[in-house]
């Protein structure tokens, strides 16, 4: 356990140093270049591009979370039960529709830039969050729901004080999946001029510079691993604190 934390800390420190002072790593990447190509990406600050990449993922995931959780809440209430199949279909379509196709369709409507990428990531991120929220809200122990009703909580009070807090770790699991998928998928946003790490990879592909491709790929990969592990740890903490430790390893 402590070894795992140490390795992740080292990875985080190396990543931050690389983003702030990429020239320090010129020697490492130099071996991958040919004919005196630059070994470090030089068409913009790696730090700025990474922050922009993270920002796009954060905005898209936040929007997907709000919509998916709201949908899941509605379809688990008595008045919304009949919308369950419809909502499921919508979330499934969002997941199966290729993000590249979404980009192609969105550009004529929204123009080049960040917006089409946000739409693609938003649609792509809905399903895991929706399904997990649904699971979390419908697997509240029946005795707990019965007690909450029997003590005179209104429907809203049951949702906010009992059902959502108990479902929170499971919902977070969905957000975690969604974030990691979006981190990787966001790179293709650079094909329509969104500022993401895909820019670095594409520049490397165009100039046949393996060092660029590797830099873009590694940053995305390390970010994904660190964020995934961080959110997993948060879930375990929430599970333990809400007395659901037995579910922590499920």
């Amino acid at each position: 356990m402590s070894w795992g934390i140490a390795i992740r800390l080292v990875a985080l420190v190396v990543l931050v140093v690389f983003l702030v002072q990429p020239e320090l790593f010129a020697g490492v990447f130099g071996a991958l270049t040919q004919n005196g190509q630059p070994s470090i990406y030089n068409q913009g600050s790696l730090l700025d591009i990474t922050l922009s990449h993270l920002g796009i993922v954060a905005v898209a995931t936040l929007a997907a979370t709000l919509v998916a959780v709201a949908l899941a809440i509605i379809v688990t209430r008595p008045f919304g039960a009949e919308f369950l199949p419809l909502s499921r279909s919508l979330a499934n379509i969002g997941q199966t529709f290729p993000p590249v196709a979404v980009l192609a369709l969105a550009v004529p409507l929204l123009g080049f830039g960040t917006a089409p990428t946000l739409v693609a990531l938003f649609l792509y991120g809905l399903l895991p969050i929706f399904e997990n929220t649904l699971t979390g809200l419908t697997s509240t122990p029946p005795a707990v729901v019965e007690a909450a009703r029997g003590m005179g909580m209104t429907g809203w009070q049951r949702l906010v004080r009992v059902e959502l807090p108990i479902a929170l770790p499971v919902i977070l699991g969905g957000i975690r999946l969604s974030v990691v998928i979006s981190l990787a998928t966001a790179t293709i946003g650079s094909t329509v001029a969104a500022r993401t790490l895909g820019e670095v990879i594409i520049a490397g592909l165009q100039s046949n510079n393996t060092a660029f491709v590797l830099q873009g790929g590694l940053i995305v990969g390390v970010l994904a691993v660190l964020i995934y592990d961080g959110l997993s740890a948060l879930e375990r903490l929430l599970l333990a604190r809400s007395g659901q430790a037995s579910r922590a390893n499920a």
Binding site: P141, A143, V144, V145, E146, A147, A148, R149, G150, M151, G152, M153, T154, Q157, V162, P165, I166, R241, S242, G243, Q244, A245
Partner: protein
């Protein structure tokens, strides 16, 4: 007083509760006994409007509950269920404070009430207040569940198989504690169980249900002595009748003057325990003590008369 007046509940045209009329006197324990599917739980859940009657009416202290919003009524009535239903993400203190918080009690009053209840249920407030339910034993969870039901000082407490998940030793202790707490607080308790033994031990009155109908509602002595139907007699068990009757009375009420040999029995014990003890030690009389002092004796002859079918 709870008045259940000709109440029925149909599910898909089939009556689950069928024209039940039952009055529960204030400050008493009424135990509703029946096998599964007898409608006993449905009847209980109609008292706090978790189920609405298809016909008939229910009144609490003369007020028809049909006119009271469900959530408001439920906050006035304690509700404890099998498997306790404690909120896993809230501490013991927060769980107990649920209804006071819904009613908008201020913090200090709520905190005092939580500590008072923990103490009443023999749980040290200091040690238990901030624990999570999963850190408690089954018996402790059950006690917290009942404490939570009593938090807002309800006049009525509904209990649905509250001891179903407990082992026999802890169950006996919980039943004993419930009687003491009921005597102390004077709460009207309606308790649902499938266990006739539990009913006889706890109930001032016992209401027996089968197939949605109320078969008999009477005192334990009456139910044991004069069961209204063969089914009730079967629930009591013919070979158990005299012992169940003895279990209803305490030694204190049947002390005779005189002396006897051997180990004494406490005046608070039940006659059933005294009887078992006498048979086991092959005596025809035993000394009775109260607060450690011998106050008289109990004879096998007297017990034999008391165990006979009441006239």
């Amino acid at each position: 007083m709870i008045e259940i007046d000709d109440v029925s509940r149909l599910y898909g045209g089939v009556p689950v509760v069928d024209h039940v009329t039952l009055t529960i006197q204030p400050r008493t324990i009424c135990v509703v006994v029946g096998t599964s599917g007898s409608g006993k739980t449905t009847l209980l859940r109609m008292i706090n409007k978790l189920v609405n009657p298809s016909s008939g009416s229910l009144r609490i202290d003369g007020e028809d509950i049909a006119g009271i919003p469900a959530y408001e009524l439920r906050r006035r009535i304690g509700y404890a269920i099998q498997g306790h239903g404690l909120f896993p993400h809230r501490t013991v203190g927060q769980n107990i404070a649920t209804v006071p918080k819904l009613l908008g009690w201020d913090k200090a009053k709520t905190a005092d009430r939580v500590d008072e209840l923990l103490t009443l249920f023999q749980l040290d407030p200091q040690a238990f207040r901030d624990r999570l339910p999963h850190q408690l034993s089954g018996g402790e969870q059950q006690r917290v569940g009942v404490a939570r039901a009593l938090a807002a000082k309800p006049n009525i407490l509904l209990m649905d198989e509250p001891y179903g998940a407990l082992d026999p030793v802890i169950r006996a202790k919980a039943q004993h504690d419930l009687l003491a707490i009921q005597r102390k607080l004077g709460t009207t308790i309606v308790l649902v169980t499938h266990d006739m033994e539990e009913a006889i031990q706890l109930g001032h009155t016992i209401a027996v249900m089968a197939h949605g109908k109320l078969l008999q509602s009477a005192t334990p002595t009456e139910i044991i002595g004069h069961p209204a139907t063969p089914f009730i007699a079967e629930l009591i068990g013919s070979s158990e009748r005299p012992f169940r009757l003895l279990a209803l009375s305490r030694v204190a009420d049947h002390i005779e003057p005189g002396v006897a040999e051997g180990a004494p029995i406490d005046a608070d014990a039940s006659l059933r325990d005294a009887y078992a003890d006498m048979l086991w030690s092959a005596r025809s009389a035993m000394p009775v003590t109260r607060h450690g002092e011998i106050v008289g004796r109990l004879t096998l002859d007297a017990l034999a008369k008391l165990a006979a079918r009441p006239q």
